[in-house]
Amino acid sequence: MKISVEVNGQVYERDVAPRLLLVHFLRETLGLTGTHIGCETTICGACTVHLDGRAVKSCTLFAVQADGRRVTTVEGLAKDAEHLHPVQIGFWEEHGLQCGYCTPGMIMTTSAFLKENPNPSDAEIRHAIEGNICRCTGYQQIVNAVQHAARLERGGR
């Protein structure tokens, strides 16, 4: 099937198998390997991307479902090392990551979340990342990272 998907600001037209998962389209077809696969069952959230601005799990969406739509992956958040997204800065400053495997999904989930709730409580952040599993950090420094990002964003960066 022919699809046309805007990914990180660039339009890609590709002929894909109907069963091709969006995560494989991003990783294998487009070579955007920042989006990870952790469970294939929509539980762990490592594959989270933005679809038309909303956080979705790309391991249980077909590529064809993204036809005509806009996808942002972790690679699309910052144009270069000097212009990191506030959430990326938060994760770096607060040691919000260790092995880094869940991190792109965490960053995509929380960057969408902060748009809805720019001034969250710790409990609201913890609720927002219930669908993202991290085995390394115990989540506390992720909560700190998101608070850090929220402060940056509120500061009108």
């Binding site: 390997t33 539980i43 609720h127």
Partner: protein, 782 residues
């Protein structure tokens, strides 16, 4: 006084992070090679049985399929799955890379299919039909003790993989201590089977390059050098023809120490087909066929005195090693009796270990590896003594502590503890927690009918493995670590380490050490690891040894380089080496103005236009650190829980952890290790369990069924620390990676049992899921 600020001890953010937060890091499954094929495994649906027939014809006929193999294709060409903790003959079991006639656990690889495309490979794996005549599976650990109820290996006398019996002389001495005691407690404790669940599942990419006759393999491992050695032996290849790369590795927690069948098979197939082959584990494969942890059953007796003294321990540890001896697997449980004395000066310990085969996935190291089981047991005993004597649980621990002036201390388990000050951590934790106030609040809540409880755990652990001679009685691998320091002509520094970090942040920590050693910026240091062509030799990252052993090797190499730089500087400054000192930035001649910066010396060492007599040009050094003993970090954790009487749900209200890991290189990273470990330990206590049914079928094969700890389950954990350095390494570091999983599990169980005590509950086994807690409440009410 150093001229520059010292970076060791500072909260420096990680140099690893920019690539990770931008999605630009390269994990194994991110690598694509020209002509690369994909592997998919056909796995056993049965826990035990005889293979009648494997039909590959349909798979082979599928478009896009290149090859398919069973054990018949491998017979005589490859060796068994690597194992360094091999049981003795008669108890050892050879685990073939693909099932050879019999299957012994669900998910055992039976055949492998190679295809042009990942999806086609999975389709083709489903095309393969495997006829298995199932037989009765041995699933229950205690049941495995009785060979009449079934054996995993028909040609073995029983299911025992390794038995370390009690020493009769010691046992008799311990029995005497029991006779003199005021009371004896008996506990049976389950330390359930759990899955490590690194967020990156395993992945392997093997590329046999026919031109240079060389294998390169990328694999998600904690121990690339051990993989190289193991694959060389398994495939009868010279190790000089093998390069193993551990690229970005997405967590390990012990399960990426074993060298797995897939890691040996893919290189062999790549050599057959002369094409690169990749396999990335699915989460279901990961839960079924990546090694599990814990899986112990303890039958213990504790002799105590009325004043709360724990006099002696005796009993038995049963360990479920699963269907085959994994890499270190059978050795893990030998750490449990060794560490069972914990922080306490009991006089006697006689605990036998019996490791048993079952028709379940093999167990191996899992964050703590044998020590969390020990800490859980002795902490449950401390609480039981408190309950029996009516003393406060914190007081009971305090009166049993090894006093701080008694170190080095040889415990009843035979371990030699390097240093400790257990009262200091406990006092700090009690103060931080405001223990007296918390107890009175708990009592008020109880008066209102609430099930509120406070838990306490004080613990120590064995870290920084080796020494090589004493790592484990049956472990056949060295336990040193390597470090190499290479100074470039500019004075910038490249470090290589045999440690193979996968989230710990050693790139940052080691760069801090080099920056301080030479007076360069942290950003002018590169730290390379995880590539056997780049790193001289190495062992790997596990057992909280990355900094303790790996960091010390780097420190030694830094010192060697600094000493040579001082000799070069002395010659260039027309001084004697003993007149030259390094002030953190420059080499200076004592009592004069003459100086050379480190960068100037580096340039001179490479330029060599002023040769230094007796020296070679250049500035680099290799070191290996062989520890003379293990380190014993420790901590005191306190927490408060509330249990919902109607649902059995446990809510963690507060958690305070005071840990002592000796000197800290980077507090930010140390906190990360502790927080992550604590939540992992809470996961085991509250929700995690690998479950098989009675036929050996895995019931927890997806993350929908295996309960992982999630963010909303925990309050903000409060951290504090004390610092008792070790004399066993120049860094004074004791190891930090496993503290959390060791302290947290007994701490929260202690709190839940305290909460349930007014309802009459005296025992519960993990995980403390709502149904289990609710059932305990109902049982006690009867």
């Amino acid at each position: 006084m150093p001229v520059r600020p010292v970076s060791v001890g500072e909260r420096i953010k990680r140099r690893e992070d920019p690539r990770l937060i931008r999605g630009l890091a390269t994990y194994t499954d991110d690598i694509k090679l020209h002509g690369m094929l994909h592997a998919a495994f056909v796995r056993s649906d049965y826990a035990a049985g005889k293979i009648q027939k494997i039909d590959l014809s349909k798979a082979r006929a599928r478009k896009g399929v290149i090859a398919a193999y069973t054990f018949d294709d491998l017979r005589g060409k490859v060796a068994r799955t690597p194992c360094v903790a091999r049981p003795e003959p008669g108890r050892d079991a050879e685990h073939p890379l693909l099932a050879d006639g019999f299957v012994r656990y669900v998910g055992q690889p039976v055949a492998v299919v190679i295809a042009e495309d990942r999806y086609v490979a999975r389709d083709a794996a489903l095309d393969v039909t495997v006829d298995i005549a199932p037989s009765r599976a041995v699933v229950d650990l205690r049941g495995a003790l009785d060979p009449a109820r079934g054996k995993v290996y028909a040609d073995h006398a029983d299911n025992v993989a390794l038995a370390v019996p009690q020493n009769p002389e010691n046992a008799a001495a311990v029995d005497k201590l029991f006779q003199a005691a005021d009371g004896v407690l008996r506990l049976e404790l389950v330390n359930q089977k759990v899955a490590p669940v690194s967020m990156e599942p395993r992945a392997v990419l093997a590329h046999w390059d026919e031109g240079p006759q060389r294998l390169t393999m990328w694999t998600s491992t904690q121990v690339p050098h051990l993989v190289k050695q193991a694959v060389a032996q398994c495939l009868s290849l010279s190790e000089v023809r093998i390069r193993v790369v551990a690229p970005e590795v997405g967590g390990g927690f012990g399960c990426k120490i074993p060298v797995y069948p897939e890691e040996c098979l893919l290189p062999w197939i790549s050599r057959q087909l002369r094409r690169p082959i990749k396999w990335a584990e699915t989460r279901t494969e990961n839960l079924a066929n990546t090694t599990h942890g814990r899986a112990q059953y303890h039958e213990l007796e504790a002799a105590y005195k009325k004043d709360g003294e724990l006099v002696a321990l005796r009993g038995r540890v049963l360990s479920d090693v699963g269907a085959y001896p994994s890499f270190f697997g059978p050795a893990i449980a030998t750490f449990t009796p060794l560490m069972m004395p914990g922080c306490y000066r009991l006089k006697g310990l006689s605990v036998e270990v019996v490791c048993l085969y079952t028709n379940t996935m093999a167990t191996d190291a899992y964050r703590g590896a044998g020590r969390p089981e020990a800490a859980y047991a002795v902490e449950r005993i401390m609480d039981a003594i408190a309950a029996a004597t009516g003393l406060d649980p914190a007081d009971v621990r305090r009166r049993n502590f090894i006093p701080k002036n008694a170190f080095p201390f040889t415990t009843a388990g035979g371990a030699v503890y390097d240093s400790g000050d257990y009262e200091a951590t406990l006092d700090k934790a009690l103060a931080r927690f405001d223990y007296a106030r918390a107890k009175s609040q708990r009592d008020q809540a109880r008066a209102q009918g609430k099930l509120r409880g406070i838990g306490v755990a004080t613990f120590t652990e064995i870290c920084g493995l080796g020494p090589s001679t004493a790592a484990s009685p049956i472990q056949r691998t060295g336990s040193w670590e390597s470090g190499m320091v290479r100074v470039e002509p500019t004075g910038n520094v490249t470090i290589t380490t045999g440690a193979s970090p996968h989230g710990q942040g050693q790139e940052t920590a080691f760069a801090q050490m080099a920056a301080d050693a030479f007076g360069v910026e942290v950003t002018d240091v590169e730290v390379l690891h995880g590539d056997t062509d780049v790193v001289t030799h190495g062992v790997g990252t596990f057992g909280s040894r990355g900094l303790v052993v790996g960091g010390t090797a780097v420190h030694m190499a830094l010192e060697k380089v600094k000493a040579k730089a001082a000799r070069i500087a002395a010659h260039l400054l027309d001084a004697k080496p003993e007149q030259v000192t390094f002030d953190g930035e420059a080499f200076r001649v004592a009592g004069g103005e003459r100086k050379l910066t480190f960068r100037q010396v580096a340039e001179a060492a490479h330029l060599w236009n002023v040769p230094v007599p007796g020296e070679e040009p250049g500035l680099e050094a290799v070191a290996r650190f062989e520890p003379t003993g293990t380190t014993f970090p420790f901590g005191a954790h306190l927490c408060e829980v509330e249990v919902d009487r109607e649902t059995g749900e446990v809510t963690l209200l507060r958690y305070v952890a005071v840990d002592d890991a000796g000197k800290i290189v980077n507090p930010l990273l140390a906190e990360g290790q502790r927080l992550g470990g604590i939540v992992q330990g809470l996961g085991q206590a509250l929700c995690e369990e690998v479950r098989y049914d009675e036929s050996g079928q895995l019931l927890t094969a997806t993350l929908m069924d295996y309960a992982m700890p999630k963010a909303h389950m925990f309050p903000r954990i409060e951290l504090d620390s004390t610092c008792t350095p070790t004399h066993l390494n120049p860094l004074g570091a004791k190891g930090i990676g496993e503290l959390g999983t060791i302290g947290a599990t007994p701490c929260v169980v202690s709190a839940v049992l305290d909460a349930l005590a007014p309802a009459g509950v005296t025992h519960i086994d993990m995980p403390l899921t709502p149904p289990r807690v609710w059932a305990a409440l109902q049982g006690a009410a009867k």
